[in-house]
């Protein structure tokens, strides 16, 4: 018995000793390279170093993550995967199916992730019942931003239905103001489209159409109404919108040239950077209709050899979902924490609204993944939908043709 205890104690001592000696290491591949984003990721690096880890940064700029994806693919094919990589949405499961992701369930269970994360977001972080990724933030996509002064001068309130939006837009157009600031890039067309679709189809319809790819919903009359609304909104956009970057469209709202923009909450960062105050200079509201579309950034953990790296992985996962990082990072990035138990005192009113709506829609089952930002579908399917959306928006295609094309494109992408 005594020897048993001794054995157990010395065994424990060895575990503790090796844990103390091995320094957690993490090589992190990410595409947060622009100003605010780089600042946000520096927060994580500092915290990692404070906990005794060595961080190897591998930022890959360009193409909204395309370049990072290519770098990741090359690394994985060469058998030299990074410790963690910024991957989101169904791509996590796609990588899991390639058999290269690590299991971080131990960390997740020790830190109670299942209780602190909204269920649908937690679902994205799990692969076949094990945890394989750690969420960083929640961007809301279905926002409508407005210039407060322009709306006040024309006696317009934030629209709560698409009909109200159309009426307001016509009034603004008559007053010589561009109703909708928009950039004609496919992903921006898709962003507006999904906000309209959520409003018109409702959360259940959105789920059926863009998560389950249900053909009946995709070709339904409601979907035609979505395309008709897109056609109407094409008329509210200035003639010079093709190829415009989203932040230039935001600037149009800021300087009063345009009244509204439909864009995710990264647009808020532009307003704030220009020194504008939410509620006073600019207004934020969810786009007309019920529901919440999220775009969640996350780190997926890859299968790596060596104790240091595995410890680094565990430490990284723990820190990323930790309360402190979730607060500091999201204050910098303009998004909201993925975990629901972070105090929001330091956040602005738009972020607080976003967090409240997230909690409410989580309860009512209308917390939904954004298709336009790669959260709902795999690349081939979401790309196929975006092709139809952008082709319709930039031509005079009828909504009957558009829904037919949508169904064909989905069938062809599977």
């Amino acid at each position: 018995m005594k020897t048993h205890v001794m054995g157990a104690v010395s065994g424990l001592a060895i575990v503790v000793a090796s844990a103390a000696v091995a320094e957690p290491q993490a090589e992190v591949l990410h595409y947060w390279t622009s100003g605010g984003e780089a600042k946000s990721v520096a927060v994580l690096q500092e915290e990692f170093a404070e906990n005794g880890g060595t961080w190897t940064d591998m930022p890959v700029a360009g193409g909204g993550g395309d370049a990072a994806g290519t770098a990741l693919r090359a690394r994985v094919l060469a058998g030299n995967a990074p410790t963690a990589a910024q991957i989101k949405g169904p791509a996590i499961q796609e990588w899991y199916e390639e058999g290269v992701l690590a299991d971080i369930s131990a960390v997740a269970e020790a830190n109670n992730w299942a209780d602190v994360l909204p269920a649908s977001i937690a679902g994205h972080m799990q692969c076949d019942g094990t945890w394989c990724a750690a969420p960083v933030n929640v961007h809301r996509v279905d926002w409508i931003w407005a210039n407060a002064e322009v709306l006040a001068a024309n006696g317009i309130a934030m629209p709560t239905t698409w009909d109200e939006f159309n009426a307001a837009a016509e009034q603004l157009q008559a007053a010589g103001i561009i109703p909708l600031a928009h950039g004609g890039q496919a992903w921006q067309d898709a962003t507006v489209f999904e906000a309209v679709a959520l409003g018109i189809l409702g959360p259940d319809g959105f789920q059926k159409a863009f998560v389950e790819l249900d053909t009946d919903t995709l070709t339904s009359d409601e979907m035609k109404a979505v395309f008709d609304q897109m056609r109407t909104m094409r008329g509210f956009v200035d003639s010079n919108f093709s190829g415009r970057d989203w932040n230039l469209a935001t600037a149009m709202v800021m300087n009063g040239e345009a009244a509204f923009q439909i864009m995710g909450d990264w647009a808020k960062g532009e307003f704030m950077a220009a020194g504008q105050v939410p509620g006073e200079d600019f207004l934020c509201a969810s786009t007309p209709g019920e529901g919440f579309l999220y775009n969640v950034d996350s780190f997926a953990m890859f299968e790596v050899d060596g104790e240091e790296k595995q410890q680094g992985q565990a430490l990284l996962a723990e820190l990323v979902v930790g309360q402190n990082f979730q607060e500091v990072f999201n204050l910098n990035k303009g998004s909201i924490p993925a975990r629901t138990d972070v105090a929001l005192d330091a956040f602005d009113s738009c972020a607080i609204l976003s967090a409240e709506d997230m909690a409410a829609s989580n309860d009512s089952g209308s917390l939904l993944p954004s298709y336009a930002h790669g959260m709902a579908l795999r690349g081939a399917q979401s790309g196929a939908i975006t092709d139809v959306v952008t082709a319709h928006f930039n031509s005079d295609m009828s909504s009957d043709d558009a829904v037919q094309m949508l169904a064909d494109a989905i069938a062809n992408s599977l």
Binding site: S239, G383, A391
Partner: protein
């Protein structure tokens, strides 16, 4: 030993590059052909699954647009760049005083990267910033030139920018060709009192046939692999109205994680190149044999 070396040195020197080309050009063509027959998505897979990717490709309206654009763009670009290049070369050939300076000016666009050309033309053609806004600023309020944002016309803006970039180069090719024509024949024709335009159409241009062929080959491969110009000028938009096969392939391979689809589009592009290059090679080789 020395004799053996003497005989085999060329082979030894060429062997490394031969092997490198064999692997990195033909080997990877074969690899792409293989992958184009699989259901590869995010990472390449190697189980052959027939021509599914080609079926998907030809069922895709976006590929339709991209492939049609290739022919519209390629045809207009090659024909107009050659005609413009020839006219410029003939005009420069008239023994004018500042030929050197003018030649350099026309050649300069070739020194720019396509990205620079594309960005500059994006601003020139932007209705709110460039040509249209300027002319309207002069008082012509109804002047409209919105090709860049008009899905029907946007592909022609790419033609314009590409011609601007390349016609100077074609001019230089043709100028060299014009100068290499035997002066004796031209002088003899002039002595016989043949008008200059007849000298060009009946003597000089026909004797430049090989130059036309070279210019055609250079321009057509520029057209087929055009990618950066489209990315910089229109980003493939409005919608996907100005997609070309190269941008389609990029989108599939790198944005959408659809490698099989990208591989099949790459194979079709390669077949288009072969359709142009093989007859050329054939005629070249045959003329050397004869």
């Amino acid at each position: 030993m020395t004799k053996w070396l003497e005989e085999n040195t060329p082979k030894l020197v060429l062997a490394p590059s031969f092997i490198i080309v064999l692997i990195f050009v033909y080997g990877f063509i074969a690899w792409t052909a293989w992958v184009s027959l699989t259901r590869s998505r995010l990472l390449p897979k190697y189980e052959i699954d027939g021509f599914i990717q080609y079926d998907r490709l030809f069922a895709s309206p976006r590929w339709d647009t991209a492939f049609t654009n290739l022919f519209v763009f390629g045809f207009l670009f090659i024909v107009i760049a050659m005609i413009l290049g020839l006219i410029l070369a003939i005009l420069l050939d008239q023994n004018i005083r500042t030929e050197g300076a003018i030649r350099t000016i026309y050649l300069y666009p070739m020194a720019l990267s396509m990205i620079v050309t594309g960005t500059a033309w994006k601003w020139i053609l932007n209705p709110g910033l460039g040509l249209e806004a300027t002319v309207r600023g002069w008082g012509f309020e109804t002047f409209t030139f919105d090709w860049l944002v008009n899905p029907e016309m946007a592909i022609y803006t790419i033609v314009i920018a590409a011609i601007w970039q390349s016609s100077g180069f074609v001019m230089a090719l043709f100028l060299a060709g014009l100068r290499s024509v035997d002066q004796e024949i031209i002088k003899a024709a002039q002595v016989d009192g043949i008008p200059t335009w007849r000298v060009y159409t009946a003597i000089i241009i026909p004797s430049m046939a090989p130059i036309f062929l070279s210019a055609f080959i250079v321009l057509s491969h520029l057209a087929i692999k055009s990618f950066d110009l489209v990315i910089a000028l229109t980003g493939g938009g409005p919608g996907y109205a100005t997609d070309l096969p190269a941008t389609y392939m990029y989108a599939m391979a790198f944005s959408r994680g659809d490698i099989g689809q990208a591989a099949s589009s790459a194979m079709i592009m390669m077949m288009v190149v072969f359709a142009i290059v093989v007859p050329y090679l054939y005629s070249e080789l045959r003329s050397k044999d004869g």
